[in-house]
Symmetry: C2
Subunit: 410 residues, 2 copies
């Protein structure tokens, strides 16, 4: 297996861009990544493109990647269109990485993209449903809704008006299970969220750039108990891109500050008992084994905080703290900038935003910037090794897909 | 790069199955492939799933593979959902092949699946449109329609009633270009189609199992001049599966009659002039180079005859005959069973059927059966090396994706 390096990254700001399509967003991200790498677009030899919802959002299925790449004058190379819900572009990263590691090609592109901010609100909400099994989704919705309403009643929180978000109800169920089992508190979750909104205020690429306090997070409108709105990733648009190359190419073109892929692991969830090991934990163990590293070696991480609970659980799964301790570990400031292990310095999905097909590569983009010392006001000092964790979709009790990468500045 | 072997294949019959969903179709194909290989489902370590239209047809986007695999009790392994229009499952084959060749895993699944026979005819026709750039499709439709109507007028053929099929109009344009440039005749195209319908009558997995003569093909209703209905692939449903493994595993489990992957190459089309080399030709050259083989070494092939012209062009691109000679070469019987190089012994897309996401793996399935001597009435005697060519979607003048594999019985 050949070593593979990331030599350039780029992304659009995440946000709501009703006047921009996927071609415009991807062009910006790819241009930036090419410029960052010093590689010309005609040197690209393979491309993988992650996207989840263009079929529903725009009618463009089947050749989503070729269509946007052609618009920027890129063609004639292998293109893999990869779907894995919110883990689409980290899964796409796996494919370009495999291709180069195997020696098929020397320089490749990974692109993640999503348009989610549709004018039609019903259609917007319907996007997420596509990331669950369509045959059982109605029963699942009813179950999650009943559970959320019962929890809201018990907690005394005001009942939620309007349409329920299925994914947030499902996340909330898992959160309540953790609260019950380990004594995790709503305030601990709010601490995670406030930290991310504070980081995000330092990130010019973030959808939200206003810092929030724990009190503000707690007093925000409830989405599904115990999750309030700032604890949940918003709907948005965006694209992110990375340029990968082999070690031979690295030497030939003399790239500065390359980042080596120490590990890249993907797995799908499976049916399991609530107390069985999480797929995230299993994937993390494999990633540490592949990298020959321990959790203590990781200097910073970008994890999949589609809700604040997603980050809490990831801290445990990635073994940054013992299982059950994610709440107190966060509240004590360990994951803040300047803490023991800064997590989501970008602001995370909650505040940087979560255009789902773009998220995996955007996480990698942030880690690469951090490892190269290019993260400006949110720079983690001395960062050398970073980790990304990107989950997607829902199968049984867990993510339908989970990808962990470990990256090292050499 | 490690050697990779195909140790089992399976498929459903292709056809119109209004009462069966993707879960039912895929279960049948995967069960058959597992049984063929002697491998139990819990030994699978990685899976790639090709599909083009489930998002539009059923609303299931994002985690299409996980959903059908979970229904058959398969989970916890990496799952890649791959889209590349009609080349979706050959592209999925590339990914599982890369994974095993790289040494990430030892036993993997490739699955292709499609439900296209929808009750709603308008929705059925809309499927194909998703395989072109949505931003320019209306202009493209008008251009193809105008060209088809002008050709029909000149040829004296009766004007076609009802909705036009965009893809068939585009194929017909390319066919007319070849007729004009090389003197190819409609009768030569009909010879290709009649040969495929004759082969298909020997294949219990085919959608159509009635032999047709050249005269019958010529006198059938016109779809878009010069293409008549039997020269065009029908709409249908189906699934196909293959089990791949590493050389080490092959020795360990003692599989009989394994088929070695000698080459697997994918590339996307690009903007080019009408007389520039076809992407199919470029991919074929690379495949022969990877395999260290010449076109003369190929004993039989399954190629992408979405129309009879698709096969004609593939014969030239794969270098089975000189460029321009595809018509006379076919009419002389070289590609028939018992001919110089049997092509589409299965009946091809025209007659075996073309549930698009299933087609690439179905081609591989036929080649594996043939190389193992299991093709019964349509067996190519002494077949040792076979080739598949699977194209998909449309970008500029050519396929958005093209995959060629070369397989050898060892």
């Amino acid at each position: 297996m050949r070593d593979v390096y990331i030599i350039g990254v780029g992304m659009t700001r995440f946000g709501k861009f009703p006047d921009r399509g996927l071609k415009s967003l991807t062009q910006e991200a790819v241009d930036q990544a090419l410029k960052h790498s010093g590689v010309e677009k005609d040197k690209l030899e393979v491309a993988s493109v992650g996207n989840a919802y263009a079929g529903i959002a725009t009618g463009q299925e089947s050749i989503r990647g070729q269509v946007v790449l052609r618009a920027m004058g890129i063609g004639g190379l292998p293109v893999y269109n990869i779907e894995n819900a919110c883990a689409s572009s980290a899964s796409a990263f796996m494919v370009t990485w495999m291709d180069i590691a195997l020696g098929l090609h020397d320089i490749g592109l990974v692109l993640g993209m999503e348009k989610m901010y549709l004018e039609d609100r019903d259609k917007r909400l319907s996007l997420f449903s596509a990331s669950m099994d369509q045959d059982i989704i109605e029963a699942f919705k009813q179950m999650a809704k009943a559970s959320a309403e019962s929890a809201a009643k018990k907690s005394g929180a005001k009942g939620k008006g309007g349409k329920r978000s299925l994914f947030m109800d499902v996340y909330a169920m898992a959160t309540r299970w953790h609260m019950e089992k380990y004594g995790t508190t709503q305030r601990q979750l709010a601490a995670i969220s406030a930290k991310n909104h504070q980081n995000s205020a330092l990130n010019p690429y973030s959808q939200y750039q206003e810092p929030m306090t724990i009190e503000e997070v707690l007093s925000a409108p409830e989405v599904s108990y115990p999750l309030t709105r700032p604890m949940c990733a918003p709907v948005g648009d965006g694209a992110a891109a990375a340029i990968l190359c082999s070690g031979q190419t690295l030497k030939k073109i003399g790239v500065s500050k390359p980042v080596k892929v120490r590990a890249a692991i993907q797995a799908s969830g499976r049916d399991r008992g609530m107390d069985d090991p999480d797929i995230g934990e299993i994937v993390a163990d494999k990633a540490y084994e592949m990298a020959g590293l321990d959790p203590e070696d990781i200097d910073l991480a970008e994890v999949h905080d589609a809700t604040a609970f997603g980050e809490l659980r990831a801290l445990e799964n990635m073994k940054f703290c013992p299982v059950g301790d994610g709440g107190p570990f966060s509240e004590a400031g360990n994951t803040s900038l300047g803490g023991k292990i800064p997590v989501n310095p970008s602001g995370g999905l909650e505040s940087k935003g979560h255009p789902v097909g773009a998220t995996g590569v955007a996480q990698i983009t942030e880690i690469v910037w951090q490892l190269r010392g290019e993260a400006e006001k949110r720079q983690v000092e001395g960062a050398r090794i970073g980790l990304t964790e990107n989950g997607g979709g829902n199968i049984g009790l867990e993510e339908a897909a989970m990808v962990v990468t470990i990256l090292e500045r050499i």
